[in-house]
Every structure is written in C-alpha cells, then in structure tokens.
Symmetry: C2
Subunit: 191 residues, 2 copies
DNA sequence: CATCGTCTATCTACTAGTAGATAGTTTCAC
DNA sequence: GTGAAACTATCTACTAGTAGATAGACGATG
C-alpha cells in the first residue's frame, strides 16, 4: 500500500524545510515533487501555516518515538547517548538539519502557534535528555553535574551547532562526528 | 556626518538576515526601513546575491576586528574567551543570531560565491579561537586538549547552538548565558 | 555639461490562496 | 437492490499580491 497523499505532502515538506528553510519552500515545489496540482495540496492543508504546524507536530511525535526506542532497546547510558547524538548526524547525509533547529532560525517569521510547538519540542527533548543524564549519573557511568537540565541544554546546543557547522563540508556526517564525538568522550567519561 | 546610503543598506540588510534569514527579507523591506525606493537599492547593489555577498564580506571584516580588539586589549585568556562568547550573546537582545549561522541554515539556497565566503568566515574564526586556546594551554590557565582546532570547532558549535536555543525565550541573553557559562567554567577550568 | 544618486513606472516570474467543475466513491432511504 | 444524495480528491483557471530586476527621466553637484 502506497502512502496517502497527505503523508506524501508532509514527507516532502519536511525534507524541504529541513534543507532549505520555511521561507524558501513553496506549494509549487511540493506540487512538482509529488505530481499533484497546487490546489490539491490546499485541499489537504488549507494554508502554509497549517501545513507547517502539522509538520512540527508530526516531527515531534516521530522524534519522541525515536527517543523511546533508544530507551527501550539499548543497554548502557553511553550507548543511548551515542544513539541520541546520531539522530542529529543522520539527516546530514541528505543535507537536512533538525526541523526545529531550522525553524528556530526562521523563528521571527513563524506564526505564534508554530513557535509554541517548536518550543514544546525543545522542552520535551531537553527533559528526555536530562533524564538520560540523570540515569547515567546514578549508574555512575559518568560524573554528576550540578544540573542535568542545564547539561542537557548544553548538549543539545552542541548537537545543533555541530549540524550547522557540518553543512557545506563535503562529508557532513564525518565533520559532525569530528566535532561531537571528542566532546562526548571527554565530557562524559567516568573519571 | 550621516552614514552613506550603501552603508545604511548593509546595516539594515544585516539586521534582517540575522533575524529573519536570507529568503525572508526583500528589497521592499529595506526600502521601507530606510526611506528609499527599491530601484535605488539596485543602484548600489544590482542583485540580491551581490548584496548578500558584500554583506558577508563586511561582516567577516567587522567580526575579525572584534577578535583583534579582544586579543589586544584584555589580559587573561579566560577573559578573552569570555569576551569572545559574549560576541555571540549580544546580538540576541535584538533577536539576531550570527549572520553566518543563519546563512548556514539557508545554505542550500545560497549562490556558490556566498557559500564560499561563509565557509571562509568559519575557517577564519576557528583558526582565531584555536590560537587563543593554544595560548591558554601554554600559559597553563586551562588544560591542553589534543587538538585546539577540534576544540575550537566544538566551542563554536556550542555558541551557535546556544544562540538558536536561546531564541524564542523571553530573556534570550540570559538563556544563552545559562547554557554557555557553565560549560566554559567546567571545560576550561585549571584542574 | 557630466556624473551621481534617486525617482517613477514598468516587467516577468512567482507567491499563497480561491472558485467552480468533475470523476469516483460511499451512505442511506426506500 | 436501486437511485439519490453526499463526500473525497482531484483538476483547470483564476485572484491579488510580492519577488527581484530594469529602463528612462529628473534634479543636484561639481
């Protein structure tokens, strides 16, 4: 069974926003990519704002599921942290950065509802990462820093900044790893 | 003496790109802000691409001068690093992030010449910061990490990511400090 | 008078969004 | 079951507005 039209629209829109940004993609672009007329896209998503809002909600759920999968499947906190970092690395192969990182750059031109959803994404991600850091601290696999929340914010900042810096380099995933891995190694080693 | 028209254009364009992004600002916006017709802006900068290219060159020079000032004026490497970090904090009050961070988000839609200039900016900044880290290491004010270049990349990634995360929060500069300062304190302490 | 900077007026291409029609499916009353 | 009504998903054709860009006129300055 093929994907529904609205799902195709969301997928293409996600790719475009993550690689080009909110202001640089249009209904005409989507229309061309999936072989459907502009008006048909408006049928599924009446306005661009609504499309992007749905997009962020959908992205937040998918990202949340990825985090759940990490928690459930893998043993050590170190491995979990590694997998979390690799979530940010993997989009780079297609020239994509985190949807909400891109939308944060475009923050000033977003409608309020989308801004709120982006903020909610970050709070959720920070909370998840802070919990992971806390588990690792309790399991004594890395040092206990004063505030797991602040530590989580710092890590997410690093991951997002590394995504930006890695763009425009020929081998983006490798550039990302070069920045992120030494940091993870030194910052979260047992000593 | 007032600023020249072309300088006014560059200043307004810089503000707009740093707050809204490349695709979300227009000649019409600039025209309105400085009270001049669109056609007059084309007289000074025939195309948007040329305007943005000049903008990045101008920004690179200005940023470079700020770095020079830091090197020359202040005593300790710690203070120099702090001032460098604060360069990234200060634009946040006006909702601005680093011009080249924004343009990296918009990377896919930029003409080649602008992409090259943005890359050059990062290389220059990394080199400057790596040199500062090396001086601090030799002066034994902080530990010597294996590669100052990689360390510099990581720091810049953190600063840019922190800028993104701090947007959309009510007091952005404070949010920026909350992320960056603990990191600088722990990562670059003498022990 | 010639250059500089600005203007008005215009252009083409594109933007998001709408109107109205249509083909195919589903629902439901009889 | 049949037929009417409603719904889904698409289309063509259009709107009003904006994008970057250009041609040519105008006034000032030196």
């Amino acid at each position: 069974m093929e994907k529904s039209t609205s799902q195709q629209i969301l997928d293409v829109a996600q790719d475009m926003v993550r690689s080009r940004g909110y202001s640089a993609f249009s209904y005409a672009d989507i229309s061309e990519r999936i072989g459907i007329r502009k008006a048909s896209i408006h049928y599924h998503f009446p306005s661009k704002d609504e499309l992007v809002l749905k997009l962020v909600q959908y992205y937040r759920e998918a990202f949340s599921r990825s985090c759940d999968r990490i928690v459930q499947s893998v043993a050590s906190p170190q491995q979990q942290l590694m997998q979390f970092a690799n979530l940010y690395r993997d989009g780079l192969r297609q020239g994509q950065i985190c949807l909400c990182a891109m939308l944060t750059a475009d923050f000033a031109v977003l409608p309020q509802a989308v801004q709120d959803e982006v903020q909610a994404f970050f709070q959720q991600t920070e909370a998840w990462l802070a919990a992971l850091l806390q588990r690792g601290c309790e399991a004594k696999v890395w040092p206990c820093y004063p505030s797991p929340e602040v530590e989580a914010k710092g890590l997410i900042a690093l991951l997002q900044g590394a995504q930006l810096l890695a763009r425009g380099v020929e081998d983006s995933p490798a550039a990302f790893e070069q920045i992120v891995y030494p940091f993870l190694a030194s910052r979260l080693s047992k000593a």
